[in-house]
């Protein structure tokens, strides 16, 4: 299999090139701002886009024209850009997600199951830690984990509490506490805790470097080969979405 990489000059683009090499996948084209995308899209079996929100729609139209599966890791699209991309899910398979790591997506899935299987005496909390340059809190992954908890316990209306301070009263049952630690060069760590009066479960993911996202994208690229046109995410690639 060979791949076309869009956004090759960025941190993720570089990681994608490294990952392809490691996985014995040929990079037929690696393009960025200023390059002509059309011949690049034609050259690959699959297109992997980790570029910029206003670039993805152009790439999507070309991928649909030449019937190439498309892997999208770019984030921050506007609503019209989203609609353009989604309109092509009738033409080609598109795997679109904010986080391509096997580990994090596994954590989403395990969290949902744990939330379903335990009852409300197991109270949920989320703790995440990232490097000192991260500007937003909590992380996108933490938001995803909160969603997983809510999906697992869909009969409860949860309120999210970002950190605690002062005399705030005893912890309500319908609360999910979220705690954002910042420091050093931590790539990304997330823990979900389910704690009852007598026992607790803790589910943790720790990322060592960005290669995990690139490896996940390569796994998605392989998986998308031969798939029907449609919109997919990493849970589909990992076989975690029940049919």
């Amino acid at each position: 299999m060979n791949v076309t990489i869009v956004g090759a000059k960025g941190r993720m683009g570089q990681a994608l090139i490294q990952s392809a090499e490691k996985n014995g996948i040929k990079v037929s084209a690696a393009i960025d701002q200023g390059d002509d995308p059309e011949p690049a899209v034609i050259s690959g079996d699959t297109v992997i886009d980790f570029s910029f929100h206003n670039v993805t729609p152009v790439i999507t139209k070309l991928a649909a024209k030449y019937k190439k599966p498309l892997i999208i890791g770019t984030t921050g699209h506007h609503i019209e850009e989203r609609n353009t991309i989604l309109s092509h899910t009738n033409d080609i398979p598109i795997v679109w997600t904010g986080n391509f790591s096997t580990g994090v997506n596994l954590l989403y899935y395990l969290t949902k199951i744990a939330a379903q299987v335990t009852d409300s005496d197991f109270q949920p909390e989320v703790v995440e830690m990232h490097h000192r340059h991260k500007v937003d809190a909590p992380s996108g992954t933490a938001e995803g984990l909160i969603n997983s908890i809510k999906e697992g316990r869909n009969a409860i209306k949860y309120n999210v509490q970002h950190g605690r301070s002062g005399i705030i009263g005893a912890r309500p049952d319908e609360e999910i506490g979220v705690h954002s630690l910042r420091g050093g060069s931590v790539v990304g760590e997330h823990t979900v805790v389910f704690v009852s009066d007598h026992e607790r479960i803790e589910l943790t993911h720790k990322a060592q470097d960005r290669l995990i996202f690139a490896d996940g994208a390569m796994r998605a690229a392989k998986w998308a080969q031969g798939k029907q046109a449609g919109l997919y995410d990493m849970l589909d690639v990992l076989g975690l979405n029940e049919g």
Binding site: S101, T102, G103, L106, L107, Y109, L110, I113, A114, V117, T118, F122, F194, S196, D197, H198, E199, R200, I201, E202, L203, T204, H205, K206, A207, Q208, D209, L211, I212, D215, L238, G239, L240
Partner: protein, 247 residues
Amino acid sequence: MNKRLNVTIIGSRGRMGQALIISAQAHEMHITGTIDQGDDPEPAIKACDVIIDFSNHQVTPGIADLAAKYHKTMIIGTTGHSEEESRRVLAHTSEIPIVWAGNFSTGVNLLFYLTKIAAGVTDLDFHPEVIEMHHQYKVDAPSGTAVGLVNALKEARSSTEYKTKHGRQGISGARPVEEIGVHSIRGGSIVGEHTVMLVSNNERIELTHKAQDRSIFADGAMKAAIWANHQAPGLYDMLDVLGLKKQ
């Protein structure tokens, strides 16, 4: 007609035995016997509906023989049985329902289930390791729960022939891919903690369970007793009791 469940507890003087008595009372069961070293178990077994055995590995086979003789349901929480002792007990699963588990808590059994999923979804470059911590009086290592976690890992990756490595020491060579390291920490009054790690070159998943007190095991054993009393003869575990076995 609301008939109270009659239970006989084997190993009643131990830590778990004491917790079982409290839990049985909380579940409004009738305790027909509390048996320990030196007591004759036969009359108490004859009088009960369900036997709950949290004793010693040498004791379980004899209790299982009696359970089968009187057609009683048996819940086994004792750990550390030899192959021969296990074989003797398993011979009775064609006659009576036996729920046999190293760990009766909801949380740990959820951990078994999540471990199987995690090991199945990740590939072989996520290397598995198991860490368990227990109090200073625990005589066997690794814990029954740790053995269960190793089995969950093996079941999920059935095409690989895994070897278990109990602690590492000296120049043991680089870690083989087909290895599961198991580490048994002992100290203080730790009721029971288990972590499964799946660690690759670039990321890791850690799944942990921590028990605060023994009530979780006793409550789970009562749950198993109530459930098993209506089952056909056979061998069951807590995943059966909790409904976590995929059909």
